[in-house]
Symmetry: C2
Subunit: 210 residues, 2 copies
DNA sequence: GTCTATAACCTGATAGAC
DNA sequence: GTCTATCAGGTTATAGAC
């Protein structure tokens, strides 16, 4: 039943390549359906591997899910931390954060859905593993500093952090509901992604400025 | 296996009451897991009815899902249309829209998740049935008018409509990921919901103002 | 309209060969 | 490390009695 996909043949037996192919396929599939509704058979077929290999490398479906989560989030968060945003002026830090974060989403439009599925369907079970709290806290700190120094209007830093992330990610998550708003434009095409990035940044900066 | 829930007994055989109980339970369950991952058994138990009744009234799981969707969305959108927002000044119209929309979400915090599951997991299959495009178009029209009259800054009305809805709904969808940002506060408690409503309205109004 | 019991199917996971 | 074949368990949906 499960056959290698002839379009993406694995030339030789290669553990790393197989694992990477499975994780890539898992990212797509979990982003589409969430942990509970994703099917290992589909992931296997997409990756060009077999179900057996999934269980060989990742023990079970949830093990694969967690490995996928970690790969998708942890390294990206570390890159943001490495930007040392807390040492910049709050308005500059926020703009750089938004620019970088939205660029990351444009590169991997699956991330928003994976993040929301983890919250909605999986009830935030692995919120610690993806270090999402630190992510929001970093953003809150920037906002708090901006309010204190007067460059931002009075606002609640934590609510603002959440609402601002909502602005960035919703476009990706709701794409199948909103795509008919635009005729002949691919929502994940380069043109539209750039426009979303610009519009989101302008909206947020205008929304926090004093 | 499936037994009536003694806490919510149906006194006598009553078609309307049974259907309503099933739809209520379905709303909760579909909001938690989406169509594909929701279990009819759970819906039956929660509603105090049996699986058989679900199939009797709604043919199959997807029939129940669609009935739930329509009940949840259509009437609410009609209420927004009845507000005749297009006859008000754009800034007033937007503020009224936000206030009303966020009040609706506070009353039924399941709506954002149902909406996003329909887009993400169900690929927007029933976007026509829930008339979601009209919803965004109404909002776009208000924004466009505000830009034209100069009360709003230059912005793309469609992107802004999407980003703004994202700000309103994300809080509800991400709640299991963000709840640890606040100690000892229930995110769906009255206090926090009111605060979210205020913060979201202020953010959006500040973000569009010229 | 409602129930119990069960059919039919699907999918996560494993055994065992190579 | 990888494959084929299969099991075990769970879930949708229905049959038939009341």
């Amino acid at each position: 039943m499960t056959k290698r996909n002839p379009l993406t043949p694995l030339k030789t037996y290669n553990a790393k390549a197989t694992q990477a192919a499975i994780l890539d396929a898992a990212e797509e599939e979990f982003a589409k359906h969430g942990l509970a509704a994703a099917h290992t058979e589909v992931i296997a077929t997409k990756s060009g591997a077999t179900k057996t290999m999934i269980y060989y490398y990742f023990q079970n479906k949830e093990g694969l899910y967690l490995a996928m989560l970690k790969r998708a989030f942890v390294e990206r968060f570390q890159e943001i931390q490495a930007m040392n945003l807390d040492q910049l002026a709050p308005d500059i830090a926020l703009e750089q954060f938004l620019h970088y974060f939205l660029s990351q989403l444009n590169k991997n439009p699956n991330l928003p859905m994976i993040m929301l599925y983890e919250a909605m369907q999986n009830q935030g079970k692995y919120h610690e593993e993806i270090e999402i709290l630190e992510f929001y806290r970093l953003l809150s700190t920037i906002l708090k500093g901006g309010v204190a120094s007067g460059v931002f209007r009075p606002l609640d830093p934590q609510h603002m952090a959440v609402n601002l992330i909502g602005t960035c990610v919703f476009y990706f998550c709701a794409k199948e509901n909103i795509k008919h708003l635009w005729e002949k434009k691919r929502l994940l095409g380069k043109e539209m992604l750039t426009q979303h990035q610009q519009e989101a940044i302008r909206f947020v900066l205008a929304g926090v400025r004093a």
